[in-house]
């Protein structure tokens, strides 16, 4: 996909937005990991697999944004 060439100020805004979004996703993963470990140590396995899938989803989203950032935007 050919992206329009952004001015520097526009690029910085987009980069800041991506950074904030990635940061929110990482904090969400931290919370997921804490809750999963707490549940696991309490003897319950019910949320282990859904939490792992959610975390993988967050990773995929993060990598997608990173790909956009590093390969398409940051040229």
């Amino acid at each position: 996909m050919n992206l329009p060439s952004f001015a520097r100020s526009q690029r910085l805004t987009i980069v800041a937005g991506i950074l904030c979004f990635v940061l929110i996703l990482v904090v969400l993963q931290l919370w997921l990991q804490t809750a999963t470990m707490e549940s696991f140590l309490s003897g319950s396995d019910a949320i282990v697999v859904p939490a792992a899938l959610a975390s993988i989803g967050c990773l995929a989203l993060n990598f997608g944004l990173l790909h956009f950032f590093l390969r398409k935007l940051d040229r």
Partner: protein, 181 residues
């Protein structure tokens, strides 16, 4: 020097030629815009790696949960009725060496056994049958002797409880009901 793209000007933010710049700018030629941009990029890469690390952690927990589900603790004799009076306790390792548990006789025919590590910071808990509780001396955590649920103090999770069977005057541990030993 004429520059086509004003975004690429980085060395002289005031716009004056290099010859008119102060000496420190030549000695410390910091390319501020590029430096800022690179910092954001590196930080975002670090966040991506952190995200990957969390996924590895989640998969590790899932692996541990699967292992716990498939591994069943073997049945093993841990005490006899003669050696344990009502109100008495005995410490033993189950299901492996180092996994310390404590067995308490709470009535003529009633026994309870729990993992001895406090769920707060793993100090060994001490049975107090006269108070119907188990107490952790480190931070004064108290657990219910009948259920293993935390009653007061810092612990928030119950103690791991063992399945027990009494046959022929002997007490057997036959697995873990809930929790991790």
């Amino acid at each position: 020097m004429r520059v086509e793209d004003p975004d690429s000007i980085s060395k002289s933010p005031d716009g004056r030629p290099d010859a008119e710049q102060p000496a420190w700018r030549e000695q410390f030629p910091i390319d501020w815009p590029t430096d800022d941009f690179r910092s954001r990029r590196d930080f975002t890469k670090l966040l991506g790696l952190t995200s990957l690390a969390f996924v590895v952690g989640q998969i590790w927990i899932a692996f541990l949960a699967l292992k716990r589900r498939t591994l069943s603790a073997p049945e093993r004799e841990v005490a006899t009725l003669e050696e344990l009076p009502v109100g008495g306790s005995k410490v033993f390792d189950y299901p492996r060496a180092g996994a310390t548990c404590v067995l308490t006789r709470v009535g003529p025919d009633r026994f309870v056994a729990y993992g001895q590590k406090c769920t707060h910071l793993s100090c060994p808990v001490i049975p107090r049958p006269e108070k119907n509780c188990l107490q952790c001396p480190c931070h004064d955590g108290v657990f219910d002797l009948a259920t293993g649920e935390p009653l007061s103090g810092p612990p928030r999770r119950p103690l791991p409880r063992l399945k027990l069977e009494v046959r022929g005057g002997r007490v057997f541990a036959a697995g873990v009901e809930e929790g991790v030993l």
